[in-house]
Amino acid sequence: MSQNNQKPASDNLVISMEGVSKWFGEFQVLKDINLSVRQGERIVICGPSGSGKSTLIRCLNRLEAHQEGTIRVDGIEMHERMKNIDEVRQDIGMVFQHFNLFPHMTVLENCMAGPNWVRGVPKAEAKERAMAMLTRVKIPEQADKYPSQLSGGQQQRVAIARSLCMEPKVMLFDEPTSALDPEMVAEVLDTMVGLAESGMTMICVTHEMGFARKVGDLVVFMDEGKIVERNNPTDFFDNPQSERTKLFLSQILSH
Protein backbone atom coordinates (compact mmCIF):
# COMPACT_ATOMS: atom_id res chain seq x y z
CA MET A 1 0.00 0.00 0.00
CA SER A 2 1.07 3.63 -0.37
CA GLN A 3 3.22 5.07 2.37
CA ASN A 4 1.49 6.94 5.11
CA ASN A 5 1.24 10.58 4.20
CA GLN A 6 3.40 12.34 6.71
CA LYS A 7 2.45 15.97 6.59
CA PRO A 8 4.71 17.84 9.02
CA ALA A 9 1.88 19.68 10.71
CA SER A 10 -0.41 16.70 11.08
CA ASP A 11 1.76 14.73 13.51
CA ASN A 12 0.83 11.48 11.80
CA LEU A 13 -2.85 12.28 12.00
CA VAL A 14 -4.86 9.92 9.82
CA ILE A 15 -8.17 11.61 10.43
CA SER A 16 -8.93 15.05 11.71
CA MET A 17 -12.29 16.74 12.03
CA GLU A 18 -12.45 20.37 12.97
CA GLY A 19 -15.67 22.13 13.80
CA VAL A 20 -17.71 19.84 11.57
CA SER A 21 -21.43 20.53 11.36
CA LYS A 22 -24.03 18.93 9.17
CA TRP A 23 -27.69 19.46 8.51
CA PHE A 24 -30.42 17.34 6.98
CA GLY A 25 -32.65 20.11 5.73
CA GLU A 26 -33.50 22.08 8.86
CA PHE A 27 -32.35 19.41 11.23
CA GLN A 28 -28.78 19.63 12.52
CA VAL A 29 -27.38 16.13 12.85
CA LEU A 30 -23.79 16.98 13.69
CA LYS A 31 -22.86 19.93 15.86
CA ASP A 32 -19.31 21.28 15.85
CA ILE A 33 -17.51 17.94 15.96
CA ASN A 34 -13.77 17.94 16.69
CA LEU A 35 -11.90 14.66 16.55
CA SER A 36 -8.38 13.57 15.61
CA VAL A 37 -7.26 10.03 15.07
CA ARG A 38 -3.59 9.11 14.87
CA GLN A 39 -2.32 6.15 12.95
CA GLY A 40 -3.01 2.87 14.71
CA GLU A 41 -5.45 4.47 17.10
CA ARG A 42 -8.73 2.74 17.88
CA ILE A 43 -11.75 4.92 18.52
CA VAL A 44 -15.04 3.60 19.81
CA ILE A 45 -18.12 5.74 19.25
CA CYS A 46 -21.23 5.11 21.27
CA GLY A 47 -24.37 6.94 22.10
CA PRO A 48 -28.11 6.66 21.88
CA SER A 49 -29.99 5.84 18.71
CA GLY A 50 -30.33 8.79 16.37
CA SER A 51 -27.46 10.70 17.93
CA GLY A 52 -25.59 10.92 14.63
CA LYS A 53 -23.01 8.16 14.96
CA SER A 54 -23.64 6.69 11.53
CA THR A 55 -23.74 10.12 9.98
CA LEU A 56 -20.40 11.00 11.55
CA ILE A 57 -18.53 8.06 10.12
CA ARG A 58 -20.28 8.41 6.78
CA CYS A 59 -18.87 11.92 6.58
CA LEU A 60 -15.35 10.51 6.94
CA ASN A 61 -15.39 8.94 3.48
CA ARG A 62 -17.71 11.61 2.20
CA LEU A 63 -20.75 9.44 1.67
CA GLU A 64 -22.39 12.43 3.29
CA ALA A 65 -21.31 15.98 2.67
CA HIS A 66 -20.77 18.18 5.69
CA GLN A 67 -21.63 21.84 5.51
CA GLU A 68 -19.23 23.41 7.98
CA GLY A 69 -15.75 22.73 9.27
CA THR A 70 -12.98 20.64 7.72
CA ILE A 71 -12.35 16.94 7.54
CA ARG A 72 -8.92 15.62 6.61
CA VAL A 73 -8.11 12.01 5.87
CA ASP A 74 -4.45 11.18 5.44
CA GLY A 75 -3.82 14.90 5.21
CA ILE A 76 -6.17 15.29 2.26
CA GLU A 77 -9.08 17.59 2.82
CA MET A 78 -12.46 16.12 1.97
CA HIS A 79 -14.42 18.73 0.09
CA GLU A 80 -16.73 19.13 -2.84
CA ARG A 81 -14.07 19.74 -5.43
CA MET A 82 -11.47 17.19 -4.45
CA LYS A 83 -9.92 15.20 -7.26
CA ASN A 84 -8.77 11.99 -5.72
CA ILE A 85 -11.80 10.89 -3.78
CA ASP A 86 -11.61 7.39 -5.25
CA GLU A 87 -8.06 6.82 -4.09
CA VAL A 88 -8.90 8.12 -0.64
CA ARG A 89 -11.92 5.84 -0.44
CA GLN A 90 -9.91 2.79 -1.44
CA ASP A 91 -7.92 3.27 1.71
CA ILE A 92 -10.97 3.58 3.94
CA GLY A 93 -12.84 0.37 4.50
CA MET A 94 -16.43 0.63 5.59
CA VAL A 95 -18.82 -1.91 7.05
CA PHE A 96 -22.36 -0.64 6.73
CA GLN A 97 -25.07 -0.92 9.30
CA HIS A 98 -27.28 -2.47 6.59
CA PHE A 99 -24.42 -4.47 5.02
CA ASN A 100 -25.21 -3.37 1.43
CA LEU A 101 -23.87 -6.50 -0.17
CA PHE A 102 -24.16 -6.72 -3.95
CA PRO A 103 -27.12 -9.08 -4.43
CA HIS A 104 -26.23 -10.13 -7.96
CA MET A 105 -22.79 -11.40 -7.03
CA THR A 106 -21.85 -14.44 -4.95
CA VAL A 107 -20.19 -13.98 -1.60
CA LEU A 108 -16.83 -14.71 -3.17
CA GLU A 109 -17.39 -12.24 -6.00
CA ASN A 110 -18.44 -9.62 -3.48
CA CYS A 111 -15.10 -10.03 -1.78
CA MET A 112 -13.01 -10.24 -4.93
CA ALA A 113 -14.47 -7.27 -6.75
CA GLY A 114 -12.65 -4.50 -4.92
CA PRO A 115 -9.11 -5.88 -5.05
CA ASN A 116 -9.56 -7.14 -8.60
CA TRP A 117 -11.29 -4.15 -10.15
CA VAL A 118 -9.60 -1.20 -8.53
CA ARG A 119 -6.42 -2.48 -6.92
CA GLY A 120 -5.52 -4.52 -9.96
CA VAL A 121 -4.88 -7.69 -7.96
CA PRO A 122 -4.99 -10.69 -10.33
CA LYS A 123 -8.06 -12.92 -10.10
CA ALA A 124 -6.31 -15.90 -8.55
CA GLU A 125 -4.69 -13.84 -5.86
CA ALA A 126 -7.88 -11.91 -5.16
CA LYS A 127 -9.70 -15.19 -4.75
CA GLU A 128 -7.09 -16.51 -2.37
CA ARG A 129 -7.26 -13.37 -0.30
CA ALA A 130 -11.06 -13.45 -0.28
CA MET A 131 -11.12 -17.06 0.89
CA ALA A 132 -8.63 -16.20 3.61
CA MET A 133 -10.84 -13.40 4.87
CA LEU A 134 -13.97 -15.53 4.68
CA THR A 135 -12.19 -18.17 6.69
CA ARG A 136 -11.25 -15.54 9.21
CA VAL A 137 -14.94 -14.71 9.72
CA LYS A 138 -15.79 -18.44 9.71
CA ILE A 139 -17.92 -18.73 6.59
CA PRO A 140 -15.65 -20.15 3.87
CA GLU A 141 -18.34 -22.71 3.05
CA GLN A 142 -20.81 -19.99 2.04
CA ALA A 143 -18.49 -18.59 -0.65
CA ASP A 144 -20.64 -19.61 -3.59
CA LYS A 145 -24.02 -18.58 -2.21
CA TYR A 146 -25.78 -15.35 -3.06
CA PRO A 147 -26.34 -12.85 -0.23
CA SER A 148 -30.08 -13.47 -0.21
CA GLN A 149 -29.45 -17.07 0.81
CA LEU A 150 -27.59 -16.14 3.98
CA SER A 151 -28.79 -15.54 7.49
CA GLY A 152 -28.46 -12.03 8.92
CA GLY A 153 -25.28 -12.80 10.81
CA GLN A 154 -23.69 -14.47 7.83
CA GLN A 155 -24.38 -11.39 5.72
CA GLN A 156 -22.76 -9.16 8.26
CA ARG A 157 -19.66 -11.30 8.28
CA VAL A 158 -19.46 -11.15 4.49
CA ALA A 159 -19.63 -7.37 4.73
CA ILE A 160 -16.67 -7.38 7.10
CA ALA A 161 -14.68 -9.76 4.94
CA ARG A 162 -15.38 -7.65 1.85
CA SER A 163 -13.93 -4.57 3.51
CA LEU A 164 -10.88 -6.36 4.79
CA CYS A 165 -10.09 -7.71 1.34
CA MET A 166 -9.31 -4.17 0.24
CA GLU A 167 -6.57 -3.99 2.90
CA PRO A 168 -7.51 -0.46 3.82
CA LYS A 169 -5.51 1.83 6.06
CA VAL A 170 -8.52 2.90 8.09
CA MET A 171 -11.57 0.83 8.88
CA LEU A 172 -14.94 2.31 9.72
CA PHE A 173 -17.33 -0.08 11.39
CA ASP A 174 -21.00 0.80 11.79
CA GLU A 175 -22.31 -1.57 14.45
CA PRO A 176 -20.48 -4.52 12.96
CA THR A 177 -21.87 -7.04 15.42
CA SER A 178 -25.49 -6.01 15.59
CA ALA A 179 -26.81 -9.08 13.78
CA LEU A 180 -24.45 -11.57 15.36
CA ASP A 181 -24.93 -14.07 18.09
CA PRO A 182 -22.65 -13.69 21.13
CA GLU A 183 -20.32 -16.43 19.98
CA MET A 184 -19.92 -14.80 16.64
CA VAL A 185 -19.64 -11.41 18.28
CA ALA A 186 -16.74 -12.71 20.23
CA GLU A 187 -15.14 -14.01 17.09
CA VAL A 188 -15.67 -10.89 15.09
CA LEU A 189 -14.40 -8.80 17.93
CA ASP A 190 -11.36 -11.07 18.08
CA THR A 191 -10.81 -10.43 14.39
CA MET A 192 -11.03 -6.76 15.09
CA VAL A 193 -8.65 -7.01 18.01
CA GLY A 194 -6.29 -8.78 15.66
CA LEU A 195 -6.57 -5.92 13.17
CA ALA A 196 -6.06 -3.46 15.96
CA GLU A 197 -2.89 -5.21 17.04
CA SER A 198 -1.58 -5.21 13.50
CA GLY A 199 -1.72 -1.43 13.78
CA MET A 200 -4.83 -0.75 11.75
CA THR A 201 -6.55 2.55 12.44
CA MET A 202 -10.17 1.87 13.38
CA ILE A 203 -13.27 3.82 14.14
CA CYS A 204 -16.02 1.66 15.41
CA VAL A 205 -19.59 2.50 16.26
CA THR A 206 -20.56 -0.18 18.74
CA HIS A 207 -22.19 -0.80 22.02
CA GLU A 208 -20.02 -3.75 22.90
CA MET A 209 -18.48 -2.34 26.01
CA GLY A 210 -16.21 -5.32 26.41
CA PHE A 211 -14.63 -4.51 23.10
CA ALA A 212 -14.34 -0.85 23.99
CA ARG A 213 -12.51 -1.68 27.16
CA LYS A 214 -10.25 -4.22 25.57
CA VAL A 215 -9.02 -2.48 22.43
CA GLY A 216 -10.30 1.09 22.49
CA ASP A 217 -7.76 3.87 22.89
CA LEU A 218 -10.53 6.39 23.20
CA VAL A 219 -14.25 6.16 23.78
CA VAL A 220 -16.37 8.94 22.33
CA PHE A 221 -19.89 9.42 23.57
CA MET A 222 -22.36 11.25 21.34
CA ASP A 223 -25.76 12.66 22.04
CA GLU A 224 -27.97 14.77 19.83
CA GLY A 225 -25.21 15.38 17.32
CA LYS A 226 -22.62 16.56 19.86
CA ILE A 227 -19.66 14.82 21.36
CA VAL A 228 -20.57 14.86 25.01
CA GLU A 229 -17.59 13.10 26.45
CA ARG A 230 -14.31 11.55 25.32
CA ASN A 231 -11.97 9.59 27.48
CA ASN A 232 -9.86 6.48 27.68
CA PRO A 233 -12.02 3.41 28.31
CA THR A 234 -11.09 2.90 31.91
CA ASP A 235 -11.95 6.42 32.92
CA PHE A 236 -14.94 6.49 30.63
CA PHE A 237 -16.56 3.50 32.25
CA ASP A 238 -15.39 3.88 35.79
CA ASN A 239 -15.41 7.60 36.15
CA PRO A 240 -17.69 9.27 33.66
CA GLN A 241 -17.77 13.06 33.78
CA SER A 242 -21.09 14.14 32.37
CA GLU A 243 -24.49 13.33 33.72
CA ARG A 244 -25.65 12.13 30.30
CA THR A 245 -22.90 9.55 30.14
CA LYS A 246 -23.60 8.35 33.64
CA LEU A 247 -27.24 7.83 32.76
CA PHE A 248 -26.32 5.94 29.59
CA LEU A 249 -23.82 3.73 31.36
CA SER A 250 -26.20 2.94 34.16
CA GLN A 251 -28.58 1.52 31.55
CA ILE A 252 -25.94 -0.67 30.00
CA LEU A 253 -24.63 -2.05 33.21
CA SER A 254 -28.04 -2.70 34.70
CA HIS A 255 -29.00 -5.50 32.34
Binding site: D86, F96, H98, N100, L101, F102, P103, A113, W117
Partner: protein
Protein backbone atom coordinates in the same frame (compact mmCIF):
# COMPACT_ATOMS: atom_id res chain seq x y z
CA UNK B 1 -44.37 -12.60 -7.12
CA UNK B 2 -44.57 -13.92 -3.61
CA UNK B 3 -45.76 -17.52 -3.67
CA UNK B 4 -47.72 -18.03 -0.52
CA UNK B 5 -47.17 -21.12 1.57
CA UNK B 6 -50.88 -21.71 1.83
CA UNK B 7 -52.76 -22.87 -1.23
CA UNK B 8 -56.43 -22.00 -1.28
CA UNK B 9 -58.88 -24.67 -2.32
CA UNK B 10 -59.03 -24.83 -6.06
CA UNK B 11 -62.06 -22.85 -7.16
CA UNK B 12 -62.75 -25.27 -9.94
CA UNK B 13 -63.41 -28.01 -7.38
CA UNK B 14 -66.19 -26.04 -5.73
CA UNK B 15 -69.64 -27.03 -7.07
CA UNK B 16 -70.95 -23.52 -6.49
CA UNK B 17 -68.25 -21.97 -8.63
CA UNK B 18 -68.81 -24.56 -11.33
CA UNK B 19 -72.52 -23.81 -11.47
CA UNK B 20 -71.86 -20.09 -11.58
CA UNK B 21 -69.39 -20.55 -14.40
CA UNK B 22 -71.88 -22.68 -16.27
CA UNK B 23 -74.51 -19.97 -15.96
CA UNK B 24 -72.15 -17.26 -17.18
CA UNK B 25 -71.02 -19.38 -20.10
CA UNK B 26 -74.60 -20.18 -21.01
CA UNK B 27 -75.60 -16.53 -21.04
CA UNK B 28 -72.57 -15.63 -23.10
CA UNK B 29 -73.20 -18.30 -25.69
CA UNK B 30 -76.89 -17.51 -25.72
CA UNK B 31 -76.38 -13.85 -26.55
CA UNK B 32 -74.06 -14.77 -29.42
CA UNK B 33 -76.66 -17.06 -30.97
CA UNK B 34 -74.62 -20.17 -31.65
CA UNK B 35 -77.40 -22.16 -33.36
CA UNK B 36 -76.31 -20.88 -36.77
CA UNK B 37 -72.81 -22.23 -36.38
CA UNK B 38 -71.47 -25.71 -36.78
CA UNK B 39 -72.86 -26.60 -33.36
CA UNK B 40 -76.33 -26.18 -34.79
CA UNK B 41 -75.49 -28.75 -37.45
CA UNK B 42 -74.45 -31.27 -34.83
CA UNK B 43 -77.66 -30.70 -32.93
CA UNK B 44 -79.87 -31.12 -35.98
CA UNK B 45 -81.35 -34.43 -34.73
CA UNK B 46 -82.58 -32.66 -31.61
CA UNK B 47 -83.49 -29.17 -32.71
CA UNK B 48 -84.32 -29.75 -36.35
CA UNK B 49 -83.29 -27.21 -38.98
CA UNK B 50 -80.90 -24.90 -37.04
CA UNK B 51 -81.97 -21.70 -38.82
CA UNK B 52 -85.55 -22.21 -37.78
CA UNK B 53 -85.06 -23.67 -34.35
CA UNK B 54 -85.72 -20.34 -32.66
CA UNK B 55 -85.28 -19.86 -28.93
CA UNK B 56 -85.25 -23.56 -28.24
CA UNK B 57 -82.43 -24.26 -30.66
CA UNK B 58 -80.55 -21.26 -29.43
CA UNK B 59 -80.67 -22.30 -25.80
CA UNK B 60 -79.92 -25.93 -26.62
CA UNK B 61 -76.81 -24.91 -28.52
CA UNK B 62 -75.75 -22.55 -25.76
CA UNK B 63 -76.26 -25.19 -23.10
CA UNK B 64 -74.24 -27.80 -24.95
CA UNK B 65 -71.41 -25.32 -25.49
CA UNK B 66 -71.47 -24.15 -21.89
CA UNK B 67 -71.28 -27.71 -20.59
CA UNK B 68 -68.43 -28.49 -22.97
CA UNK B 69 -66.63 -25.35 -21.83
CA UNK B 70 -66.92 -25.97 -18.10
CA UNK B 71 -66.26 -29.68 -18.47
CA UNK B 72 -63.15 -28.86 -20.42
CA UNK B 73 -61.87 -26.53 -17.69
CA UNK B 74 -62.59 -29.14 -15.07
CA UNK B 75 -60.75 -31.86 -16.93
CA UNK B 76 -57.81 -29.56 -17.51
CA UNK B 77 -57.56 -28.79 -13.81
CA UNK B 78 -56.84 -32.45 -13.09
CA UNK B 79 -53.51 -32.35 -14.88
CA UNK B 80 -50.19 -31.09 -13.52
CA UNK B 81 -49.59 -27.42 -14.13
CA UNK B 82 -47.21 -27.71 -17.09
CA UNK B 83 -49.63 -29.95 -18.95
CA UNK B 84 -52.46 -27.55 -18.11
CA UNK B 85 -50.57 -24.69 -19.71
CA UNK B 86 -49.89 -26.78 -22.77
CA UNK B 87 -53.49 -27.87 -23.23
CA UNK B 88 -54.94 -24.40 -22.79
CA UNK B 89 -52.47 -22.94 -25.24
CA UNK B 90 -53.29 -25.57 -27.79
CA UNK B 91 -57.02 -25.03 -27.43
CA UNK B 92 -56.74 -21.29 -27.74
CA UNK B 93 -54.51 -21.70 -30.75
CA UNK B 94 -57.02 -23.95 -32.46
CA UNK B 95 -59.85 -21.57 -31.67
CA UNK B 96 -57.91 -18.70 -33.09
CA UNK B 97 -57.00 -20.61 -36.22
CA UNK B 98 -60.67 -21.47 -36.68
CA UNK B 99 -61.41 -17.76 -36.48
CA UNK B 100 -58.90 -17.05 -39.24
CA UNK B 101 -60.31 -19.92 -41.21
CA UNK B 102 -63.75 -18.34 -41.06
CA UNK B 103 -62.45 -15.51 -43.26
CA UNK B 104 -62.71 -17.88 -46.18
CA UNK B 105 -59.13 -17.44 -47.27
CA UNK B 106 -57.61 -18.64 -50.50
CA UNK B 107 -54.74 -20.79 -49.26
CA UNK B 108 -53.25 -21.49 -52.65
CA UNK B 109 -52.64 -17.77 -52.93
CA UNK B 110 -50.86 -17.68 -49.60
CA UNK B 111 -48.74 -20.64 -50.56
CA UNK B 112 -47.57 -19.02 -53.73
CA UNK B 113 -46.41 -15.89 -51.95
CA UNK B 114 -45.11 -17.00 -48.58
CA UNK B 115 -41.65 -17.92 -49.79
CA UNK B 116 -40.92 -14.45 -51.05
CA UNK B 117 -42.42 -12.86 -47.96
CA UNK B 118 -40.01 -14.75 -45.77
CA UNK B 119 -36.84 -14.47 -47.80
CA UNK B 120 -37.28 -10.84 -48.75
CA UNK B 121 -39.68 -9.38 -46.20
CA UNK B 122 -38.87 -11.13 -42.97
CA UNK B 123 -35.18 -10.80 -43.56
CA UNK B 124 -35.38 -7.05 -44.13
CA UNK B 125 -37.65 -6.57 -41.13
CA UNK B 126 -35.37 -8.50 -38.81
CA UNK B 127 -32.28 -6.85 -40.11
CA UNK B 128 -33.62 -3.33 -39.72
CA UNK B 129 -35.10 -4.02 -36.29
CA UNK B 130 -32.05 -5.72 -34.86
CA UNK B 131 -29.65 -3.01 -35.98
CA UNK B 132 -31.99 -0.30 -34.76
CA UNK B 133 -32.60 -1.78 -31.33
CA UNK B 134 -28.88 -2.11 -30.77
CA UNK B 135 -28.22 1.50 -31.65
CA UNK B 136 -31.25 2.50 -29.60
CA UNK B 137 -29.90 0.71 -26.52
CA UNK B 138 -26.63 2.56 -26.72
CA UNK B 139 -28.45 5.86 -27.11
CA UNK B 140 -30.68 4.90 -24.20
CA UNK B 141 -27.84 4.28 -21.75
CA UNK B 142 -26.19 7.57 -22.61
CA UNK B 143 -29.55 9.33 -22.51
CA UNK B 144 -30.52 7.85 -19.17
CA UNK B 145 -27.24 8.84 -17.57
CA UNK B 146 -27.57 12.34 -19.01
CA UNK B 147 -31.12 12.68 -17.78
CA UNK B 148 -30.06 11.61 -14.30
CA UNK B 149 -26.93 13.74 -14.21
CA UNK B 150 -26.72 17.16 -12.67
CA UNK B 151 -25.07 18.67 -15.71
CA UNK B 152 -27.51 21.25 -17.03
CA UNK B 153 -26.51 21.05 -20.69
CA UNK B 154 -26.55 17.25 -20.77
CA UNK B 155 -29.90 17.15 -19.05
CA UNK B 156 -31.38 19.73 -21.39
CA UNK B 157 -30.17 17.97 -24.51
CA UNK B 158 -31.33 14.57 -23.29
CA UNK B 159 -34.74 15.79 -22.25
CA UNK B 160 -35.20 17.74 -25.46
CA UNK B 161 -34.26 14.62 -27.33
CA UNK B 162 -36.68 12.31 -25.54
CA UNK B 163 -39.45 14.84 -25.73
CA UNK B 164 -38.96 15.48 -29.44
CA UNK B 165 -38.49 11.93 -30.61
CA UNK B 166 -41.22 10.50 -28.45
CA UNK B 167 -43.37 13.45 -29.46
CA UNK B 168 -43.15 13.27 -33.23
CA UNK B 169 -44.91 10.40 -34.98
CA UNK B 170 -42.41 7.89 -36.29
CA UNK B 171 -43.77 8.37 -39.77
CA UNK B 172 -42.91 12.03 -39.50
CA UNK B 173 -39.40 11.20 -38.39
CA UNK B 174 -38.95 8.88 -41.33
CA UNK B 175 -40.11 11.66 -43.64
CA UNK B 176 -37.99 14.31 -42.01
CA UNK B 177 -34.87 12.22 -42.26
CA UNK B 178 -35.56 10.93 -45.74
CA UNK B 179 -36.71 14.23 -47.19
CA UNK B 180 -35.15 16.71 -44.77
CA UNK B 181 -31.56 15.59 -44.93
CA UNK B 182 -31.41 16.16 -48.69
CA UNK B 183 -32.32 19.79 -47.94
CA UNK B 184 -29.03 20.26 -46.14
CA UNK B 185 -27.16 18.48 -48.85
CA UNK B 186 -27.22 14.83 -47.84
CA UNK B 187 -29.14 12.42 -50.03
CA UNK B 188 -29.62 9.31 -47.95
CA UNK B 189 -30.84 5.87 -48.94
CA UNK B 190 -34.09 4.40 -47.73
CA UNK B 191 -32.68 1.68 -45.47
CA UNK B 192 -30.19 3.87 -43.57
CA UNK B 193 -32.85 6.56 -43.26
CA UNK B 194 -35.22 4.00 -41.79
CA UNK B 195 -32.62 2.70 -39.37
CA UNK B 196 -31.72 6.21 -38.23
CA UNK B 197 -35.36 7.09 -37.66
CA UNK B 198 -36.12 3.89 -35.78
CA UNK B 199 -32.98 4.13 -33.64
CA UNK B 200 -33.63 7.72 -32.67
CA UNK B 201 -37.28 7.14 -31.92
CA UNK B 202 -36.83 3.97 -29.90
CA UNK B 203 -33.73 5.37 -28.28
CA UNK B 204 -35.95 8.06 -26.82
CA UNK B 205 -38.48 5.58 -25.49
CA UNK B 206 -35.78 3.35 -24.08
CA UNK B 207 -34.04 6.24 -22.39
CA UNK B 208 -37.04 6.47 -20.13
CA UNK B 209 -36.99 2.74 -19.45
CA UNK B 210 -33.31 2.71 -18.59
CA UNK B 211 -33.73 5.76 -16.42
CA UNK B 212 -36.44 4.08 -14.38
CA UNK B 213 -34.37 0.92 -14.05
CA UNK B 214 -31.27 2.75 -12.88
CA UNK B 215 -33.24 4.88 -10.47
CA UNK B 216 -34.78 1.87 -8.83
CA UNK B 217 -31.52 0.50 -7.47
CA UNK B 218 -31.31 1.43 -3.79
CA UNK B 219 -28.89 4.05 -2.64
CA UNK B 220 -27.02 1.57 -0.47
CA UNK B 221 -25.66 -0.16 -3.57
CA UNK B 222 -24.15 3.06 -4.84
CA UNK B 223 -22.70 3.78 -1.44
CA UNK B 224 -21.18 0.35 -1.02
CA UNK B 225 -19.65 0.60 -4.45
CA UNK B 226 -18.39 4.16 -4.26
CA UNK B 227 -17.04 3.65 -0.76
CA UNK B 228 -14.73 0.96 -2.12
CA UNK B 229 -13.39 3.50 -4.58
CA UNK B 230 -15.18 2.15 -7.66
CA UNK B 231 -15.50 4.98 -10.16
CA UNK B 232 -18.79 6.06 -11.64
CA UNK B 233 -18.47 4.07 -14.86
CA UNK B 234 -17.42 0.90 -13.11
CA UNK B 235 -20.23 1.20 -10.60
CA UNK B 236 -22.72 1.69 -13.39
CA UNK B 237 -21.44 -1.18 -15.48
CA UNK B 238 -20.80 -3.81 -12.87
CA UNK B 239 -23.07 -2.96 -9.96
CA UNK B 240 -26.06 -0.92 -11.07
CA UNK B 241 -26.91 -2.04 -14.59
CA UNK B 242 -26.72 -5.78 -13.86
CA UNK B 243 -29.18 -5.29 -11.03
CA UNK B 244 -31.41 -3.13 -13.20
CA UNK B 245 -31.56 -5.73 -15.97
CA UNK B 246 -34.56 -7.70 -14.68
CA UNK B 247 -36.45 -4.43 -14.54
CA UNK B 248 -35.30 -3.19 -17.91
CA UNK B 249 -35.78 -6.40 -19.87
CA UNK B 250 -39.59 -6.65 -19.95
CA UNK B 251 -40.25 -3.14 -21.26
CA UNK B 252 -37.29 -3.47 -23.62
CA UNK B 253 -38.77 -6.69 -24.91
CA UNK B 254 -41.98 -4.77 -25.46
CA UNK B 255 -40.10 -2.18 -27.44
CA UNK B 256 -38.33 -4.70 -29.60
CA UNK B 257 -41.55 -6.52 -30.37
CA UNK B 258 -43.22 -3.22 -31.15
CA UNK B 259 -40.30 -2.22 -33.33
CA UNK B 260 -40.64 -5.35 -35.45
CA UNK B 261 -43.95 -3.97 -36.50
CA UNK B 262 -43.12 -0.29 -36.50
CA UNK B 263 -40.31 -1.01 -38.88
CA UNK B 264 -43.10 -1.41 -41.40
CA UNK B 265 -43.36 2.36 -41.45
CA UNK B 266 -40.17 2.53 -43.43
CA UNK B 267 -42.11 0.90 -46.24
CA UNK B 268 -43.46 4.35 -47.03
CA UNK B 269 -40.05 5.14 -48.42
CA UNK B 270 -40.07 1.99 -50.44
CA UNK B 271 -38.22 -0.54 -48.30
CA UNK B 272 -39.51 -3.97 -49.07
CA UNK B 273 -40.04 -5.31 -45.61
CA UNK B 274 -42.65 -7.78 -44.46
CA UNK B 275 -45.65 -5.49 -44.10
CA UNK B 276 -44.89 -3.75 -47.36
CA UNK B 277 -44.98 -7.05 -49.17
CA UNK B 278 -48.14 -8.08 -47.35
CA UNK B 279 -49.91 -4.95 -48.49
CA UNK B 280 -48.50 -5.13 -51.97
CA UNK B 281 -48.71 -8.74 -52.98
CA UNK B 282 -52.44 -8.93 -52.41
CA UNK B 283 -53.20 -5.74 -54.26
CA UNK B 284 -53.52 -7.07 -57.75
CA UNK B 285 -56.20 -9.59 -56.95
CA UNK B 286 -57.71 -7.87 -53.92
CA UNK B 287 -56.33 -10.60 -51.64
CA UNK B 288 -55.30 -8.27 -48.85
CA UNK B 289 -56.66 -10.37 -46.04
CA UNK B 290 -54.71 -13.44 -47.05
CA UNK B 291 -51.49 -11.53 -47.12
CA UNK B 292 -52.14 -9.59 -43.93
CA UNK B 293 -52.95 -12.73 -42.01
CA UNK B 294 -49.85 -14.43 -43.31
CA UNK B 295 -47.74 -11.48 -42.25
CA UNK B 296 -49.46 -11.42 -38.89
CA UNK B 297 -48.66 -15.07 -38.29
CA UNK B 298 -45.04 -14.52 -39.22
CA UNK B 299 -44.86 -11.60 -36.78
CA UNK B 300 -46.48 -13.71 -34.15
CA UNK B 301 -43.99 -16.53 -34.53
CA UNK B 302 -41.17 -14.03 -34.29
CA UNK B 303 -42.72 -12.58 -31.16
CA UNK B 304 -42.95 -15.98 -29.54
CA UNK B 305 -39.30 -16.65 -30.25
CA UNK B 306 -38.41 -13.29 -28.73
CA UNK B 307 -40.55 -13.99 -25.69
CA UNK B 308 -38.71 -17.20 -25.00
CA UNK B 309 -35.38 -15.43 -25.32
CA UNK B 310 -36.60 -12.64 -23.08
CA UNK B 311 -37.76 -14.94 -20.33
CA UNK B 312 -34.45 -16.80 -20.44
CA UNK B 313 -32.46 -13.61 -19.97
CA UNK B 314 -34.78 -12.40 -17.26
CA UNK B 315 -34.61 -15.66 -15.35
CA UNK B 316 -30.85 -15.68 -15.55
CA UNK B 317 -30.54 -12.24 -14.03
CA UNK B 318 -33.39 -12.62 -11.59
CA UNK B 319 -31.92 -15.74 -10.02
CA UNK B 320 -28.76 -13.84 -9.41
CA UNK B 321 -30.37 -10.75 -8.09
CA UNK B 322 -32.89 -12.42 -5.79
CA UNK B 323 -33.29 -10.48 -2.60
Amino acid sequence: MYADTVIGDKLIRKPRFLLGLLAVAFIAFFTFNMADTIIGEFLRPVIGEPKESGLFGRSAAALVLAILFVGNLFVISLFPIKVQIGIVWLQLLLLFMAFFYSFDLKFSFIQSKIGFMITQGLFTTLYISAVSIMIASVIAIVGAVAKLSNNGVAFAIASFYTSLFRGLPLLMQVFLIYMGLPQIGYVIDAVPAGIIALSLCYGAYMTEIFRAGIQSIPRGQWEASRSQGFKFGLTMRRIILPQAVPLIIPPTGNQFIAMLKDSSLVSVIGVWELMFLARTLGQKEFRHMEMLITAALIYWCLTMVLEVIQSRIEKHYRQKGAR
